[in-house]
C-alpha cells in the first residue's frame, strides 16, 4: 500500500474514533535515548500503533553550506569532516572529487589507492557501528555495539597514525591526499583487512541467526523499490530494496573499475535486509581492501601543480559524488572564478534517506519506529548540516 493511501485510511480511522482521549501524541526526541542525536519525531499513536509521524530536524544546523561558501576551497575540507562525523574520509573524498572536476585536477595513482583504502576502511567501521547502534535500539544492552567499537577502535587508530586525528581526519586534498602512508601503515591496514572477516563471523554468530532479531526486523519497515527510487534513496537502503545501484559500479569514480567486488541486493527492503546488506557489503569491502593493498604503487601522493592555497577554478559548475557508507554523497559547486565557491551544496544521503521515514513507520508499532530509524543510518551532523 502506498504511503499516501495508508495515511488517508489511518486519518479516516482517526476521525471516526474521535481524537481526544484515545490517541496518544508523543514527542520522541530531541532528548530521546534512541534518536541518534538531536532528532525529533512527533508521533501520534493509537494504542502503540503509529498513525502519524512527523520528523522534525534542524536542531544541529551549523550553517555548513554558507560557511563553505565564505571559506576558501581548502578551508572547506575540515568542515566536510564534520558532516557525517563517522566517515570523514569519504566526506573529504566527495568534496575533493567535486573540486577536481571543477578545476580539472588530475590525481596521482598512489593517492587514488590510498583513497580507496581509507574509504573502504571507513565503510567497514561505519557499517559495523551502525549495526551496533541498531541492536542498541533493539535493546541488546550494548554488546554488539561494544564489539563493533572494539574493531572500530583499530581502524581509528590507523587513521590517527596516518592523519593525526581519529575522526576528523581532514586527510584528502583536491589533487591527492595530504600525507603519504608508510609501509608499516600499509602492513597494519593489511592486518585489519585480514582479521576483519573473523570479527564479522563472530558478529554474525551473535546476531544473524537470533530469532528475536529476525522477528524484530523481518517484515518491519519494508520499503518498495519503486518508492525508494522515487524518493531518491541511495546506499545500502536502496540496495536492500533490490535496486542495483552502487556508484562504485555506476560512476566507477577513482579507480574502482580495477577491483572485482559484488554488490549485494535484498528482496524485501525491510530492516533485516538492510542489516544483512551492510554485513555483506563489509565482506565485499574487505575484498576491495585486499586487492588495493596488494596493488598499491609507489609514486607521488598529490598533483604537484595544484595550488592548495588560493585555488581559483575557472567559472563553472561541477557535481562530484561518491558512494559513501550511507549512500550517494554529492557536492555541488559553482565557481565564479574567485577563491571561494559561489555556491556550495551538499547532497546528504542521511537526510534524503530519512524522508521516507513516515512511509515506513505508518501502521507500525512504536518499538518498530525506533528500529526503522536505526536502520536508516543517519548522522544528524549530516542531516542538519
Amino acid at each position: 500500500m502506498s504511503a499516501m493511501v495508508t495515511r488517508v485510511v489511518l486519518e479516516e480511522e482517526e476521525s471516526a474514533r474521535g481524537v481526544e482521549g484515545e490517541l496518544l501524541e508523543i514527542s520522541m526526541g530531541p532528548h530521546h535515548p534512541s534518536t541518534h542525536g538531536v532528532f525529533r519525531m512527533d508521533v501520534r499513536l493509537d494504542g502503540e500503533r503509529v498513525t502519524r509521524l512527523k520528523p522534525v530536524f534542524g536542531y544541529l544546523h551549523r550553517n555548513h553550506e554558507k560557511i563553505a561558501e565564505k571559506a576558501s576551497y581548502l578551508a572547506a575540507i575540515p568542515y566536510t569532516d564534520r558532516l557525517d562525523y563517522l566517515c570523514s574520509m569519504t566526506n573529504n573524498w566527495g568534496y575533493a572529487l567535486a573540486v577536481e572536476k571543477l578545476a580539472g585536477i588530475p590525481v596521482p595513482e598512489r593517492a587514488e589507492y590510498i583513497r580507496v583504502i581509507t574509504a573502504e576502511l571507513t565503510r567497514l567501521q561505519n557499517h559495523a557501528s551502525l549495526i551496533g547502534f541498531l541492536l542498541q535500539d533493539m535493546g541488546a544492552s550494548g554488546t554488539p555495539l561494544m564489539y563493533a567499537f572494539r574493531e572500530r577502535e583499530k581502524i581509528l587508530d590507523l587513521f590517527e597514525s596516518l592523519t593525526g586525528a581519529r575522526m576528523m581526519c581532514n586527510y584528502m586534498r583536491f589533487g591527492g591526499v595530504r600525507v603519504d602512508c608508510s609501509s608499516e601503515w600499509l602492513e597494519a591496514a593489511q592486518n585489519i583487512a585480514s582479521s576483519f572477516p573473523q570479527f564479522l563471523d563472530e558478529y554474525e554468530q551473535l546476531l544473524t541467526g537470533n530469532e528475536i532479531l529476525m522477528a524484530r526486523t523481518q517484515g518491519v519497515g519494508a520499503l518498495s523499490a519503486e518508492l525508494a527510487v522515487n524518493a531518491g534513496i541511495t546506499g545500502p537502503m536502496l540496495r536492500a530494496s533490490g535496486v542495483n545501484y552502487d556508484l562504485r559500479k555506476v560512476d566507477r569514480y577513482g579507480i574502482y573499475d580495477r577491483f572485482t567486488f559484488r554488490v549485494p541486493l535484498g528482496d524485501h527492503g525491510d530492516v533485516y535486509d538492510r542489516y544483512m546488506i551492510r554485513l555483506l557489503e563489509m565482506r565485499e569491502s574487505v575484498k576491495i581492501l585486499e586487492q588495493a593493498l596488494a596493488a598499491i604503487p609507489e609514486g607521488p601522493i598529490i598533483d604537484p601543480k595544484t595550488r592548495l592555497r588560493g585555488l581559483r577554478p575557472k567559472a563553472g559548475e561541477a557535481y562530484g559524488r561518491i558512494e559513501g557508507p550511507k549512500g550517494e554523497l554529492g557536492f555541488f559547486l559553482i565557481s565564479d572564478g574567485s577563491t571561494n565557491p559561489y555556491r556550495y551544496k551538499v547532497r546528504p544521503p542521511s537526510m534524503i534517506n530519512l524522508t521516507v521515514l513516515e512511509d515506513m513507520c505508518l501502521g507500525r508499532n512504536v518499538a518498530d519506529v525506533v528500529v526503522i530509524l536505526g536502520s536508516v543510518d543517519i548522522v544528524m551532523g549530516e542531516v542538519d548540516r
Binding site: 474521535g18 481526544e20 482521549g21 484515545e22
Partner: protein, 175 residues
C-alpha cells in the same frame, strides 16, 4: 473482638467508602483494592488462609487491574463527564441512593443485633479456629464439589470467550 479485627474492618470500610465517593476513577479503583485487601486480611484473621490468598490473587491481581484497564480504555468518558457540569436532579438522586442504602443497613443491623440465634452465648460458638488444610480443601473440591468445580470451569471459559468477543474491536464492514 480483637484489635486486628477492628483495624482490618476499619481499613475495609474506609476503603469502601473512599471507593464510592472519590472523584477520580483511578483513585476509586485504588481505594477498592484497599478495601479488598482489607477483606483478604479479615479472611486470614478468621482462619481462612486459602480464601484470603485467593482473594488477593484474584481481586488485587486481576479484577483491580481489569478495572484499571477499563478506566484507561474509556478515558474519553471521564474527560467528558468532568466537563459535564449539569447538577440538576443530582442532589435528589444522591439523597435517594444514600437513604436506600442507609435503610438497608438499618434493617440488616437490626436483624443481626436482634436475631435469637446470633445472640446466643458465645460459649456455644466454635472458639478454636477450625482446621482447613490445603489437603482438605483439595479433597472437598475434587470429591464432594467436583460437579460445581466443573461447572465453574465451564463458566469461566464461557466468560473468557464472551469477554473477548465483546471487547473485540469491531471490524469496519466491507463496503
Amino acid at each position: 473482638m480483637s484489635l486486628s479485627f477492628l483495624i482490618l474492618a476499619l481499613l475495609t470500610l474506609g476503603g469502601a467508602v473512599a471507593a464510592m465517593t472519590l472523584h477520580r476513577l483511578v483513585h476509586c479503583v485504588l481505594a477498592l483494592t484497599v478495601a479488598l485487601a482489607g477483606l483478604a486480611g479479615l479472611y486470614l484473621n478468621l482462619g481462612a488462609q486459602f480464601v484470603g490468598l485467593a482473594q488477593i490473587l484474584v481481586y488485587v491481581g486481576a479484577v483491580a487491574i481489569l478495572i484499571v484497564f477499563a478506566v484507561l480504555l474509556t478515558r474519553g468518558a471521564e474527560i467528558a463527564s468532568q466537563m459535564d457540569s449539569s447538577r440538576q436532579g443530582r442532589f435528589s438522586a444522591l439523597a435517594g441512593g444514600v437513604a436506600t442504602a442507609a435503610a438497608v443497613f438499618a434493617v440488616l443491623a437490626w436483624v443481626v443485633l436482634h436475631s435469637p440465634t446470633l445472640s446466643a452465648p458465645a460459649a456455644t460458638m466454635t472458639q478454636v479456629a477450625p482446621q482447613a488444610a490445603m489437603q482438605q480443601i483439595g479433597d472437598a473440591l475434587m470429591r464432594r464439589y467436583v460437579l460445581p468445580l466443573e461447572v465453574m470451569g465451564l463458566m469461566l471459559t464461557a466468560a473468557l470467550i464472551g469477554a473477548v468477543i465483546l471487547a473485540l474491536e469491531e471490524k469496519p464492514e466491507a463496503q
